[in-house]
């Protein structure tokens, strides 16, 4: 029988307002083995921890139960406190009487009763806890960054600067990401390329950074400190080592009808191409879908003109296996598909474009060479309408329930740039709310209104009707003036909602990182651990975690890098001691457990046993605790009950069940 101490936290009024903590203390005192119980306003505070330590020493406690917030919050805190007081940290159990009790119940009687039961379950469990010792595993001092946009580049640079090897895997032919498609950036109107390309060059030139462009992550195994990743290097059909990047092949390529991905399909590119002029690496790829040689076997012009002899039609995809200590997801975003928003006539009229398309239109390297013109007839528009929240904040079957966060600011930027360059163009913005939290953001928006005379109208647009004369009739609300507005426009720009890049769910599955219903990766804690995935060793950088602008992305990228550096700086990691363990005397050696183990952590050995006097050699399961992650699949598969999980043993869980059902 353990000597158990119970510590009930008030959490200020968070718990104490709904749970009668004094009564909890008095009630649990009567539980078997409980030799000490007390309450305190903030158990996690230094004073609270000191209280626990003192009780452990004075009462010679063998196990403690802290009734407080979720173990996901402070289990580690209390374990450390116990350890400092000389108690094995795994002799601590948490009864979650905040998230699972006080915060969701209103009736004090009910909540108190439940808190007592939760405490009893924890007490019953801690009676059966044992002194566990974490093992150690080595850390591979190399990081993987998935995604080569500004988030991935910044993370990689920061990690590399700390002296660790980093690989960037980018699925397109060049790093640069969405930021490379932008013309200017808010709130200072810097040229996007001017500030991005130096970083791209730095990344490519850094001796610690290795780029895998035109590559994708194929599979991931292992765990924090010891990931093993298969990377598919897609065939470029151009030898990276020989190509000089002269561009002659692209010039001569006869197939020039493929839509340019970089220019959002607004113009075309050759079948052999680099996405944009500053691409890194400056080595083209052949798009097999449009290449004449690939489709018909005839042509081969690029091979003929390439003086470096870099073209190689026989190239195959290659799989590379690398080991990493940490993985950063920086997969970024795309705009949503607008097929369902027929009322905005996006598919019908070339003059209705998304904001990202407008970036390309405004850019000197874009389809119109930077001239603001209508894509239908090349004419200069006189009247431009911006529609905000297209697909954002939509709680319906068509859009996204969240705010895309960047649209208000980039629309102000667009409006300002247009008014600046083309003062005779009228700009109208239909908005629901203008959201400008951020340094110099509201000032920026006000400049658009006050200095540039952009016409902001509060109200959504209901329909855009293309007119026979080529103009667009925009029918919207002016809620402040109480009018329905019907106005003609020459161009309409849709602030289209953003969503995580399409492949992210697959990547999350490979990494066993959790992901929400909108395909944003979930952080370990929404406030306190925003750049870590709940899966140890996996970190989040950029929009894959939630909508954010460039400065926020860069900050998060740096934060993710720091977390990675912190991890890679360690030579060894303490492993979770809650691993499976097989009772040699009970084991049948039947291999059922091995069949369900996702980590290959179970092996078999012929062992000499002494089973109550019977000495024999038996084939028995042996768990490699460095590989075991403690899921417990084997424990249930085991027919004889030989396999058990430390920290969550059969008897411990049953004791909790019994205590709850008592």
């Amino acid at each position: 029988m353990q000597r158990i101490g119970v510590f009930v936290c008030h959490c200020g009024s968070n718990i104490a307002a709904t749970v009668d903590v004094k009564r909890v203390v008095e009630t649990v005192k009567k539980e078997q083995g409980v030799v000490h119980a007390e309450d305190y306003p903030y158990m996690c505070s230094e004073a609270g921890q000191a209280l626990i330590a003192a009780a452990i020493k004075e009462k010679n406690l063998g196990g403690i139960v802290v009734c407080s917030c979720s173990p996901r919050m402070h289990e580690a805190t209390f374990r450390k406190a116990a350890e400092r007081a000389g108690l094995n940290p795994y002799m601590v159990e948490i009864a979650n009487i905040r998230e699972h009790c006080s915060w969701i119940h209103k009736d004090m009687e009910e909540a108190t009763e439940k808190a007592v039961i939760l405490a009893r379950a924890a007490i019953a469990k801690v009676h059966l806890n044992s002194h566990l010792q974490p093992g150690e595993s080595l850390v591979t001092k190399r990081a993987l960054v998935i995604g080569g946009g500004i988030a991935g580049i910044q993370t990689a640079l920061d990690i590399a600067e700390a002296g660790y090897e980093v690989d960037i895997v980018e699925k397109t032919p060049s790093i640069g990401g969405r930021m490379s498609q932008l013309d200017k950036t808010f709130p200072t109107l810097d040229c996007s390329a001017c500030i991005l390309t130096p970083k791209m060059v730095d990344a490519a030139a850094h001796e610690k950074i290795n780029l895998y462009t035109y590559s994708e992550v194929e599979s991931v195994s292992g765990f924090v400190g010891n990931f093993s990743v298969d990377i598919r290097k897609k065939a470029r059909f151009v030898d990276m080592n020989k190509c000089t990047g002269c561009g002659l092949c692209q010039e001569k390529c006869p197939s020039k009808k493929a839509k340019s991905e970089f220019n959002r399909g607004l113009n075309t590119r050759s079948a052999i191409y680099t996405p944009f002029a500053q691409a890194i690496p400056n080595v083209p790829v052949i798009d097999t879908e449009s290449c004449v040689k690939m489709k018909t076997g005839k042509c081969g012009l690029c091979e003929k003109v390439c003086q470096a002899g870099a073209i190689d039609y026989s190239q195959k995809d290659e799989i590379i296996t690398e080991k990493y200590g940490a993985i950063v997801v920086a997969t970024g975003f795309d705009t949503i598909n607008l097929d369902q928003y027929g009322e905005y006539a996006y598919n019908e009229s070339p003059d209705v474009i998304t904001s990202l398309e407008l970036e390309r239109v405004m850019n000197a390297a874009g389809p119109t060479k930077g001239h603001l013109e209508r894509l239908s007839d090349g004419k200069a528009p006189k009247e431009i309408v911006f529609i905000q929240c297209v697909g954002s904040r939509c709680d319906d079957h068509r859009g996204k329930p969240y705010c895309s966060k960047i649209c208000c600011m980039y629309t102000a930027k667009h409006a300002m740039l247009i008014r600046d360059k083309y003062p005779d163009v009228n700009v109208t913005v239909f908005y629901i709310d203008v959201r400008t939290p951020g340094k110099n953001f509201d000032e920026f928006y006000r400049r658009a209104v006050e200095e540039y005379g952009v016409n902001y109208i509060k109200g959504q647009v209901g329909k855009v009707v293309p007119q026979p004369d080529g103009s667009l009739l925009v029918q919207g609300s002016d809620l402040l003036d109480g009018k329905q507005i019907k106005m003609r426009a020459d161009m309409v720009v849709l602030a289209t909602a953003i969503e995580p890049e399409a492949g992210v769910r697959k990547i999350a599955t490979m990494l066993t990182a959790s992901i929400d219903t909108n395909n944003f990766l979930t952080e370990a804690h929404p406030k306190l651990r925003p750049v870590e995935s709940p899966t140890a060793g996996v970190f989040l950088s950029g929009v894959c975690q939630g909508p954010k602008d460039i400065p926020e992305t860069v900050s998060q990228a740096g934060a993710a890098a720091v977390k990675v550096i912190g991890l890679l700086a360690k030579d060894k990691l303490l492993t979770n001691p809650c691993t499976a363990e097989s009772d040699t005397l009970l084991c049948n050696g039947c291999s059922v457990c091995q069949n369900v183990c996702p980590y290959g952590a179970i092996g078999y050995e012929d062992k000499e046993v002494n089973d109550h006097g019977i000495r024999e050699t038996r084939r028995v399961a042996v768990v490699n605790s460095a590989l075991c992650q403690g899921c417990g699949a084997c424990t249930v598969a085991c027919p004889s009950g030989a396999m058990d999980l430390k920290g969550f043993s059969n008897r411990q869980i049953l004791a909790e069940v019994d205590a709850i059902c008592r």
């Binding site: 009910e110 929400d516 219903t517 969550f648 069940v657």
Partner: protein, 145 residues
Amino acid sequence: MPVEKEFRPKIVAFCCNWCSYAGADLAGSSRLGYPADVKIIRVPCSCRVNPMFILRAFEKGADGVILCGCHPGDCHYSTGNYYARRRMTLLFSLLDYLGVEEGRTRVEWVSAAEGVKFSTVMNEFVDKIRSLGENVRLGDLRCKN
């Protein structure tokens, strides 16, 4: 007339540490209430839940048992919930076969981001159990009379 005491069921919820327990935490921090009848037991993964735990809960007087784990495909341990799904499918089917009322057992996949779902599921489940009333059958299904 004697006043009948309101039936307060005993409900055990096994929640995996990575998704559903976090989902329950989120329900808590978002103040999305559900009846106090539900008591959560944290397990590392839904695949840690032995059918024996569920039967034991019923034997000890539970009126309903629910198992929550990560969505299929999103298991922290890659494959745990797939095994749990098969085990529970068969266990529930066997319990139905024995004539234990359907609805006393349930499996739900709740991610760490689905606080709303967690609360909704628990409210529904408690309603269901309340409508079924006290569980007697599993306690009575004995070898010896």
